[in-house]
Amino acid sequence: MKNKIERKIVIPGEGIVKGENYLPGEGTEKKGDEIVTTRYGLAEESNRLVKVIALSGIYQPRRGNIIIGKVENITFYGWVIDLDSPEGAFLPLQEVPKYVDKDRLNDIFDIGDMIVAKIIGVTNRGIDLTIKSRGLGRIDEGIIIKINSNKVPRVIGKEGSMINLIKKESDCNITVGQNGLIWIKGDKIEDELLVKKAIMFVSEKSFTSGLTDEVKKWFEKERTKNKNKKDKNV
């Protein structure tokens, strides 16, 4: 049985593994018979494919991604959306699931509004968005926080395990944008802030395995802390 390569942090130009058996995946290139990383990140191998998961860097928009953005500008044809990424994003009139009066665009979304949208195309002109799906549209209440987009998979967890745990423990609605913006809405502000803290906790500890258990323990600690605070005030 061949040994699996251990996950390790690598820096640009560093060799990960030598041998004809391995294939260069994302964040790597082949130099002679060695697979070398082109990113600062976590190198891992599965089924002979070697790739490097970025630890940092800007958001790479992909078709199908759910994102959260801010309305920056209104034109005749739709809304210009800021995703906190260098590419511009646009939500055209046609992608809004109801009749829009061309003169009353700002009634639907005004400058400064936050929206949840889906990416339907990424071209050299920019990113094309739609809100013609369930769960998409304007955000009316709650708080928006920002994490590095590379931490989003960890915050969501395998098949949503992490984010579902946080939702359950806090009783909040949470929408995670792939671009790193996250919308949190709860009945109490304290719950929303607890989620914010939990997400920061997860994104700072990205590479600890057994993170789900640690987060469960963290919530227990926080609940005891808050209970003690309330008891003190009685």
């Binding site: 640009p12 130009g13 082109t38 990113r39 260098p86």
Partner: protein
């Protein structure tokens, strides 16, 4: 007869001052780092890739690297008046040239990658410390790179070759005086930056480059450690 030059801080000719490097020193930046050679301290922060303004300067074939080197007014004995000067403008450009060969920025057309370098304290070799910090900051920012670059100043003080000049050595005037040669190389041994001012033969210069290649590894190790140490834990 020339006596062997003795270094003012007691170092051996091929000894680099104590180096320190750390990433993540500016939380607002996409990537950041500090790097020091003894008393010379540089910090660098990277913002980008991001939209590039003004539009007419955009490059449709690749991203644009923009470096700005600047010394804090109190980083040297005689206060520097704030604002760009010809020296800092030149160093900004050679820093760009030192870093660009290893950056893979074809995938960021029309975008800018801004690198800001500030010298907090100066005891010579400031451009080298700046380049080392900038290389770290770019990697930390997740910019795709073929390699890291490392930079060091080699000097010929009178007839003696030394590594990592301090200010006393830079100002040395006896004998053949001081020749200052800052060099930047990839870990694969390719030169991305070299400058010289002083007086030297080409035979001596070849020795200088060999010496640089030898000691460059020490700097690379410090940079590598800074990047690896910054990740809290990994299983």
């Amino acid at each position: 007869m020339t006596k062997e030059f003795k270094r003012s801080d007691g170092r051996k000719p091929d000894e680099i001052r104590a180096m320190e490097a750390k990433v993540g020193v500016v939380p607002n930046a996409n990537g950041s780092a500090m790097f020091s050679f003894g008393d010379t301290i540089a910090i660098a922060a990277v913002y980008g890739p991001k939209k590039m303004h003004p539009q007419h300067q955009q490059d449709p074939e690749k991203g644009t690297l923009r470096c700005k080197y600047s010394m804090l007014s109190f980083s040297v004995s005689e206060r520097i008046r704030p604002g760009p000067n010809r020296r800092s403008t030149e160093i900004s450009k050679i820093t760009e040239w030192a870093l660009e060969p290893v950056l893979m920025i074809k995938k960021y057309p029309n975008m800018a990658i801004d690198v800001h370098i500030n010298i907090l304290q100066a005891n010579a070799s400031t451009r080298c410390a700046g380049i080392n910090a900038a290389a770290l900051a770019l990697a930390h920012a997740g910019i795709p790179m073929k390699d890291i670059v490392s930079s060091i100043s080699i000097g010929k003080i009178d007839k003696q070759l030394v590594v990592d000049l301090n200010k006393d050595e830079e100002d040395w005037e006896e004998g053949e005086g001081s020749t200052d040669i800052p060099i930047t190389m990839t870990s694969g041994g390719e030169i991305t930056h070299i400058q010289l001012d002083g007086r030297i033969t080409s035979k001596e210069l070849k020795e200088v480059i060999e010496l640089a290649r030898k000691v460059m590894k020490e700097i690379y190790e410090v940079q590598k450690k800074a990047l690896k140490d910054s990740v809290r834990e990994i299983k």
